[in-house]
Symmetry: C2
């Protein structure tokens, strides 16, 4: 199963925190696929998160997310800035997507954004998450590499081609599932 | 629990078909609350269903709905017209909202729209659903009564005041849940 996530996306946070355990429990192989929602939203005419553009929907989302995080027993702090730009972290995750430390790195970035209210667009924050998962902080410079840029661009293009329009999304044998609440259905899907 | 529904809404269909059984199984008292999404969508600048405005999202929704209906074992025929105008049926459901035949009437309208591809904006279709649930077909004229119009308008105003922005929605003790996939969570909520 491919797990498509965007670091600025709120509902991707509870998914990122549990997807590895849930997939393992069902014996499903997992691929971590970072992408950017910004270019996709722009094609729909949105220059901001729809949760900011439609405040009534945004207010509901934060309450819904609080209920979900409480049920999942993970902390949530309403970020003082939303949505945060996850470009640097997404390039790192794309560049090293098959490294064994990437799942922990992804979770660490989400915790920085949604549990500790840290500015994940700041390379220093990304570097500290790298260090926390046992990697050299200097690895953050790889975000500027052509390989990282190209890999994230390719991921986003593939997401668009798959019909992905939001995050998190899950793809099993070409079948698309959108939303944290579809994780179990996606894992049970027979491709 | 209040079940807020709109007859044009796709995800309200699987909810309407199961909500009474699910509520009864958990001993939760249920109120049927028809309302109109049109006025709410217009305040967000949408003059059509967002599933038509954003075709990528619409394509996904129809596929997702097909999976949900298959899992729930209810028929689905992609309506040749979408969204259909449920004004007449909604006024009838609002006017008689505490009548014992209303749940069956609501399900009958959804089946007409999404299982039989019938034009539910046509009073003759609404009349035939009334007849199917043992009511005189002439009752459809009540849709033009001041009481029916006023009750549906009041419902829609109350929905807006509750922060409702889509359908189906569920409200338990002031707590709002949006979406067919939140029905179980809403029913388990301790108000």
């Amino acid at each position: 199963m491919d797990f498509w996530f965007e670091f600025g996306s709120t509902y991707s946070y509870p998914s990122a925190m549990r997807v590895e355990d849930e997939a393992r429990a069902r014996g499903v192989a997992l691929r971590w696929r970072p992408f950017l929602l910004g270019p996709i939203f722009r094609t729909q005419g949105w220059l901001d998160s729809p949760f900011n553009i439609y405040p009534v929907k945004g207010k509901y989302m934060w309450r819904d997310l609080a209920r979900i995080c409480a049920a999942q027993n993970i902390p949530l702090r309403h970020p003082t800035s939303f949505p945060r730009n996850g470009l640097v972290a997404a390039r790192i995750a794309a560049r090293f997507d098959d490294a064994p430390w990437v799942p922990a790195f992804v979770r660490g970035i989400y915790e920085a954004n949604f549990a500790r209210d840290e500015e994940i667009s700041d390379p220093a924050v990304v570097a500290s998450v790298l260090a926390a998962v046992g990697q050299p902080a200097e690895l953050v410079r790889e975000a500027s590499s052509e390989e990282a840029k190209s890999k994230l661009r390719t991921n986003t293009d593939e997401a668009i081609a798959l019909g992905i329009f939001g995050a998190p999304s899950f793809v099993v044998g070409g079948e698309l599932f959108w939303g944290n609440d579809r994780l179990e259905t996606a894992l049970a899907w027979k491709a």
